[in-house]
Amino acid sequence: MAPPVRSDEQGHATVTIVTGKAEARRRLQPGRSGTLRKIWEHRADYAYVLPAIAVMLMVIAYPIYYTIELSFFKTPPGLQLRDKTFIGFDNYTAILTSQVFWKVTWNTLIWTLGSTFISFVLGFATALALHRDFIGRGVLRAILIIPWVISAVAASYIWKWIYHSDFGIIGAVLVGLGLADRPPNFIDNVSTVLPSLIVVNIWREFPFAMIMMMAGLQTVPDQLLRAAKVDGASAWQRFWHVTFPHLRNVSVVTMLLLAVANFNSFIIPWIMTGGGPSNASHIWITHIYELAFGRQRWGVASAYSVLLFLILMTLGYFYVRALSGNERNEGSA
């Protein structure tokens, strides 16, 4: 058989000589040969990441699979887990028709959106303020990072005492200044408990948004800002038309990271209120914990977890897309 003759981009004829066997294999699997060849060419790379993939399969993929499987079983609290019975989608139906689910979902939405949005705005504003040069900027930046670096558990206990309905610091100050007759009820009231916890969460995570946005601000080209200033743009116009467009991607990434963290945020609500009073501060993750470990409804808790997983995966998808957007922008720059 004559070897195939092709021409390159400059029109020079090139001849590719292949063996009969290889050609036959290529013709039999025209789509896969490229992929397989690439894998073979990068076999050393795959070998390097194989241990990591194996570990991930064990500690991530298997638990996910097992959680999904368990979500289709009834696990009566009085029996061992191995005595579970298959019930199809009944756990999902039970969840979606329960009043508690909708209450907890509403709490989760308020918690996640409130914490994410306000943390971001506060972090962004602080980053803008700290972007200017002034005496003590470094010290102030270090102080503002403290809430983010201290343990969430310790912070929760401290805030629990700050909020304490009988002898909390806030209450004592307000009563001492004559601004209130008795200490305000922050966390023992169904109406105020969730906003109070959101304040603690914002206090803890706004430094993260601040750091991210400060990093983003470093990438805004100074010459563009100077040019805009020379052209007579006001401070707001410079921010809106020059600074903000440059921060779009880092803003999206920051908000997505905050949203994922807040959906999964367990420590603050669990330690400060345990989801109470009267389920008023239960969010998905604390409710799942109580269902699983407190009430041993492993099947229902797994179904909840699968739903939460789907939501987080969706957020993860947008996060990856935002990151890809960043890379594309950097590539084109």
């Binding site: 009085g78 061992q80 629990k160 200490p183 023992d188 109470g276 109580e290 009430r295």
Partner: protein, 492 residues
């Protein structure tokens, strides 16, 4: 100090006989080492220090002292609300065990009351449980019914079933088989600050006789002094809540089931009965109507009431005799004028019997802990070193150590502990111990059901929170809780 005629009070109790029968009703009842029918502070004093025990010698008959082995052991240990004295006894116990059994490699882990169940359940799911575990009294039947525990009775570690409180043995028995041994059992008492009573126009030497009186006293204290009257606790997933609400529920004639009767069947749910609702109404009246209890009751536990009490900001509460020692510890840590204020509170601290319901019924939770051995298939490594496990169980449940480990806050699970010299010493050192030992005959064990932890730690506190936050009316909260118990018992 108030002198309460505790002995006569015990004799006067109209329902004592029934409750004693409940505590004593077990087929295994033979001849206990102490005469429970004579139980009174005077009787307890008369038997204290009358017998010596050789702990190492007794345990050597179970597991030779030179036995070589390895033991993993989890236990419900001291927590933030316990006095320093108790911490020292726990430390001493493990040091003594290691000296007595130098060839047993002991890997112990202490967990607090509220964390132990969750962690233990998780470990069991992964077959990573310890070889032996000391659980709260609520936990025994749950794990026995699921088949995690090995049969274990006092005779297996050299004691007799009759050496232990019959009511406590019920908590470790499932379908006629014994799966554990009680380490300690206790009942709480009613504590008040005589100075606050005096300033509020109440008789400083007289505890409220009934729960209705508690509601009235609490309001009077709050209205006159602007401080909290009664230390209500309604936190979810906290052992303190059922220990404080159930005595109230039972006193009003209510219950989760019929657990307050002599021979409970646990068939009929009683949480929605008029009597149960009356008990819930009393809490509602204090928290919502009168606002006479700490606002923080919904997120607090007893450890949070203790600083309030020692600061003179709380008039009454239910607790262990150990709270006296806790107050002493807190006073030591106070500074400046706070130290003097704390001392005033301690000087005015009074203990009495828990109030009765409207019909004269007095009740208290018969609490405590049990010790168990796991089946090998649920243990990390798949092996249980039984001789090593029995060695530590023999020591902990011995008259000596079951007394010492309960020195400040409880009572020995092994009734022979009451005869030891340490009991005599304890009666002299631990103030108000008479009162809490006097409450023992009124003790009602939690329902011996696998579902009991969920009922007591989640459903009952939920009921309280639903009523006290206004999320539901008292009737709705009680009905909702009753329905949850029915669903739970129905396998939902």
């Amino acid at each position: 100090m108030t002198r309460i005629k505790l002995g006569s009070a015990v004799l006067r109790g109209t329902v004592v006989g029934v409750l004693m029968a409940s505590l004593m009703s077990t087929s295994a009842l033979g001849a206990p080492p102490v005469d429970l029918s004579k139980w009174s502070p005077e009787y307890v004093r008369s038997i204290a220090g009358t017998q010596d025990f050789d702990t190492a010698g007794d345990c050597a008959k179970v597991t030779p002292l030179d036995y070589k082995g390895r033991l993993t052991f989890w236990y419900q240990g001291v927590f933030e609300g316990d006095p320093d004295l108790l911490r020292q006894y726990y430390k001493d116990f493990f040091e003594t065990f290691r000296k007595t059994y130098p060839n047993i490699q002991l890997e112990e882990q202490a967990l607090t009351y509220n964390d132990l169940l969750d962690k233990f359940r998780t470990a069991l799911l992964g077959n990573a449980a310890p070889m032996a575990v000391r659980l709260q009294i609520l936990g025994g039947t749950e794990f026995a019914s699921k088949g995690y525990l090995q049969p274990l009775k006092p005779e297996d570690v050299g004691y007799s079933t009759e050496d232990f409180w019959p009511g406590a043995m019920k908590a470790v028995t499932w379908e006629g088989v014994t799966y554990g041994i009680p380490t300690n059992n206790e009942t709480m008492a009613f504590i008040w600050n005589a100075d606050i009573f005096n300033r509020a126009g109440l008789d400083p030497d007289k505890a409220p006789a009934t729960w209705d009186d508690v509601v009235k006293y609490s309001k009077q204290i709050h209205d006159k002094l602007g401080i909290a009257g009664y230390g209500l606790v309604a936190r979810k997933n906290a052992g303190n809540t059922p220990y404080r609400f159930m005595p109230q529920l039972w006193a009003y004639g209510g219950g989760v089931f019929d657990e307050a009767t002599a021979n409970p069947t646990y068939k009929q749910v009683e949480l929605d009965s008029p009597q149960s609702k009356a008990a819930l109404q009393a809490s509602y009246d204090m928290y919502v109507r009168d606002k006479s209890v700490p606002v923080s009751a919904l997120t607090n536990q007893q450890a949070d009431n203790q600083p309030l009490f020692v600061a003179g900001q709380l008039g009454m509460m239910i607790s262990h005799p150990s709270d006296y020692n806790v107050m002493l510890d807190l006073q030591k840590k106070a500074t400046g004028t706070d130290k003097d204020k704390a001392q005033t509170v301690i000087d005015n601290m009074r203990y009495g019997l828990i109030p009765t319901g409207p019909d004269g019924k007095r009740a208290v939770v018969f609490g405590g802990s049990n010790i168990h051995i796991l089946k090998p298939e649920y243990v990390e490594g798949g092996k249980v070193d039984e001789p090593a496990a029995k060695a530590i169980i023999c020591m902990w449940t011995s008259p000596e150590w079951s007394l010492k480990m309960a020195y400040a806050g409880s009572n020995p699970g092994n009734l022979n502990g009451f005869k030891t010299k340490w009991m005599k010493e304890r009666l002299d050192n631990i103030k108000f111990l008479d009162v809490t030992t006097s409450m023992l005959p009124y003790g009602i064990p939690f329902p011996a059901l696998p579902q009991a932890p969920e009922i007591m730690n989640i459903i009952v506190p939920d009921m309280l929170q639903n009523a006290l936050t206004g999320a539901m009316t008292v009737d709705q909260a009680a009905d909702d809780a009753a329905q949850k118990v029915k669903d739970l018992m129905g396998g939902l």
